[in-house]
């Protein structure tokens, strides 16, 4: 019997997540007394020091919130600026921004699948440990990660904090021969991306059946990335500007990241949420590759997130290949911006999920207030809910080591970015 057993599990530094966080778990008399995903990275207070900065600086400044998804921050910011200023950047910019974003999805998802998640499913402490027994898998993953970075570099000159994007478009357009050379590499990688989906689906993923709310953007034609309305699996369908009417953030004592709720309930953002709400928008080859795995989306198994990430790599490759076909350098790479005062809203799908921005600008185009809601703070409540369910399903009478491993696997499955989550900490107090 386990009724008198007490388990105190403290994982002071979570391995293989972006940024640093910890987990506290206390099990007493066969039930969970305490379960805390503790995020203790110090706040960087971005929202405060964005005040007074000009709109033209925002893409470079907000990128610094996250080294893994800087493109997402840049794209949500330019959308907010352009929406308010009434700028239409035109079809070339729209297409190239999607390509740019595809690069980030590919590199971030390949990084997560191979460096962070795969060791859990294959029984290693790190990807370095997998290098011998799973050399082919790791090489394929690193090559995809490198391709994602190459796409970002094509338009942004470097993959971390790229310098190419601006309000209105891009500073410069890549030469056609560079585009053609990269596009050929993307085409050549398609079999790897398809194989990655099959491989992800073949991993020993634990069974799990949970009732949760998925939230993502949805676009009339495309799989969501750079634009759309915010939708939820239980029926919400709102424009980006109405986010604050339905979603609220709260502070908890043990975390420097705020928790977000939808109508008082935790919810999921990220690849699985996107797949659950937008599988009908996938390119046919991705749908076919998924059909061969037998996994059906929408899925209530959180561990299908890794399959969703692999599918999004394939989707992003196909998308970039299509958008770069027949590439021509445009006469102008950016539309002119004329500042206007008011409030602008932006939301895009970062690799980890919905990334929502709101800026109030003065008539010179300087920020008066900023609010940024990153994906990881939105997922925090859902992660704790999942952890409870997953550990109870595993059996609280299991060895501490088994509980720790499963708990870490559950957390990593969300690909939490603690750097993002804390680097935002937003303004939730009432202001005069």
């Amino acid at each position: 019997m386990t009724t008198t057993r007490e388990v105190r599990l403290c994982v002071p530094i979570l391995a293989r997540v972006e940024g640093e966080g910890a987990l506290d778990l206390v099990v007493q008399d066969g039930r969970i007394e305490t379960l805390r995903l503790r995020i203790f990275e110090p706040p960087r207070m971005f929202e405060k020091f964005l005040e007074g900065r000009e709109y033209s600086e925002l893409p470079d400044l907000v990128a610094r919130i996250c080294g893994i998804c800087p493109v997402a921050y840049q794209m949500s910011a330019v959308q907010a600026i352009e929406g308010l200023f009434g700028i239409d950047p035109g079809p070339w910019v729209r297409a190239m921004r999607r390509v740019f974003y595809c690069g980030e999805w590919i590199q971030s998802h390949a990084l997560h699948i191979h460096w962070l998640a795969a060791p859990d499913f294959l029984g290693y402490e790190s990807a370095v440990g997998m290098a011998q027994a799973h050399a082919g898998v790791l090489q394929r993953g690193l090559a995809l990660q490198g391709l994602g970075n190459a796409i970002i570099k094509l338009l942004g000159a470097r993959s971390v904090h790229p310098v190419g994007a601006r309000a209105g478009g891009f500073y410069a357009a890549p030469p056609a021969e560079e585009v053609a050379a990269l596009r050929a590499r993307l085409v050549a990688a398609l079999p790897d991306a398809e194989a990655l989906i099959a491989w992800a689906a073949s991993l020993p993923l634990p069974a799990s059946d949970q009732d949760f709310i998925s939230v993502s953007l949805r676009h009339p034609l495309d799989y969501p990335m750079n634009e759309g309305r915010i939708v939820a699996s239980h029926g919400l369908d709102i424009p980006v500007s109405e986010y604050e009417t339905h979603f609220a953030e709260r502070q908890v004592a043990y975390s420097t990241a705020l928790f977000a709720d939808l109508h008082g309930r935790p919810y999921l953002v990220g690849p699985l949420a996107r797949m659950n709400l937008n599988a009908d928008r996938l390119h046919p080859p991705v749908r076919a590759a998924l059909a061969r795995t037998g996994i059906v989306f929408p899925s209530r198994n959180m561990f299908h997130s890794v399959v969703a990430r692999a599918a999004e790599i394939h989707q992003a490759l196909l998308e970039a290949i299509g958008l770069l076909a027949g590439y021509r350098r445009p006469a102008e790479t950016a539309a002119a911006a004329v500042p206007r005062s008011g409030t602008g809203f932006g939301a895009t799908e970062a690799p980890r999920g919905l990334l929502w921005h709101r800026y109030e600008f003065d008539d010179e185009g300087c920020v008066r207030r900023a609010r940024i809601v990153p994906p990881t703070s939105q997922n925090q409540g859902r992660m704790e809910e999942d952890l409870r369910g997953a550990l109870e399903a595993l059996g609280l009478d299991k060895e501490e080591e088994a509980l720790r491993r499963r708990a870490e696997m559950v957390i990593r499955n969300y690909d939490p970015c603690i750097s993002c989550a804390t680097h935002f900490l937003r303004v939730r107090v009432a202001r005069p």
């Binding site: 207070m45 610094r64 080294g67 990807a127 993959s159 310098v163 410069a172 107090v429």
Partner: protein, 263 residues
């Protein structure tokens, strides 16, 4: 006997983008594994924060009382300590709070600020412990970090570039955006290492690699004024990614005060 270089990667307040250079090194990183042992590198799955190492790479700025204690332990356990990136070398973008009322900011961001526990300033690693090498850049790149690792494998000091971005533009035959476009380019005062990326996409450098050797920041600021930049805009050019680097901070404050005098 294991003769591999024992390496740790530590994170303080940062965006994670500098240590990502290791994970973005791909096959090159795996090729180094016979020579390098990662002892602590949480994101890659290695956890031993207090183990002794030959080289510690430190990303991020010091911004909490716990950070102050932790960086002292890192220093004590490391034969060679390398601060990487703008946060570790200059306090980072988040050092913008150093000139502000940090308590008021915390109260604005958190409903219960007392539970957060942050220092009023964000500071560079070298403000707290002796640092053997600084690699500037926001972000640092793969070649910089692999170069430091290679040098330490051979037990020598890494050769860090010290030129200004201007020289890199000349080497790469990039058209000068300051001269040709009248763009407020920070290249003349900025440390190279990035490859002059911004001028090569026809935009002004924004100094993410920090101050170069002997920069004449005030002269460049005066040139920006001649180009028509308002004092507040000049101040923002300097008070950005590397705002707490002394030479940038000084120039930025001078021009911010000129703005305040006119306001």
């Amino acid at each position: 006997m294991d003769t591999r270089l024992r390496v740790a990667v530590h994170k303080f307040s940062s965006c994670d983008g500098c240590q990502l250079a290791f994970l973005n090194s791909g096959a090159d990183l795996l090729r180094l594994m016979p020579r390098v042992e990662f002892v602590h590198f949480a994101e890659a799955g290695f956890i031993a924060p207090d183990a002794p190492v030959d080289v510690a790479f430190v990303e991020g700025s010091i911004s909490t009382p716990q950070d102050v204690e932790r960086i002292e332990r890192v220093r004590a356990n490391s034969r060679y300590l390398v601060a990487i990136g703008a946060c570790a070398t200059a306090g980072g973008l988040q050092a913008l709070r150093n000139d502000a009322d940090a308590a008021a900011w915390m109260a604005a961001v958190y409903p219960r600020p007392a539970e957060i526990g942050a220092l009023p300033v964000s500071s560079a690693i070298a403000s707290h412990v002796p640092v053997d090498e600084e690699v500037w850049g926001c972000p640092v790149n793969e070649w910089q970090l692999l170069h430091v690792l290679q040098a330490r494998i051979f037990g020598v000091r890494p050769a860090i570039e010290n030129d200004k971005v201007c020289l890199e533009c000349k080497r790469r035959q990039a058209v000068c955006v300051l001269v040709a476009q009248g763009a407020p380019c920070m290249g003349p005062v900025t440390h190279t290492g990035c490859g002059a990326l911004c001028p090569r996409v026809r935009r002004a450098c924004y100094a993410c690699y920090g101050p170069a050797e002997n920069p004449n920041a005030q002269a460049l600021a005066a040139r920006f004024a001649q180009l028509g930049l308002a004092p507040a805009a000049i101040a923002r050019r300097f008070l950005s990614i590397n705002n707490a680097a002394p030479v940038f901070h000084e120039a930025g404050i001078v021009w911010r005060e000129r703005h305040d005098d006119h306001a």
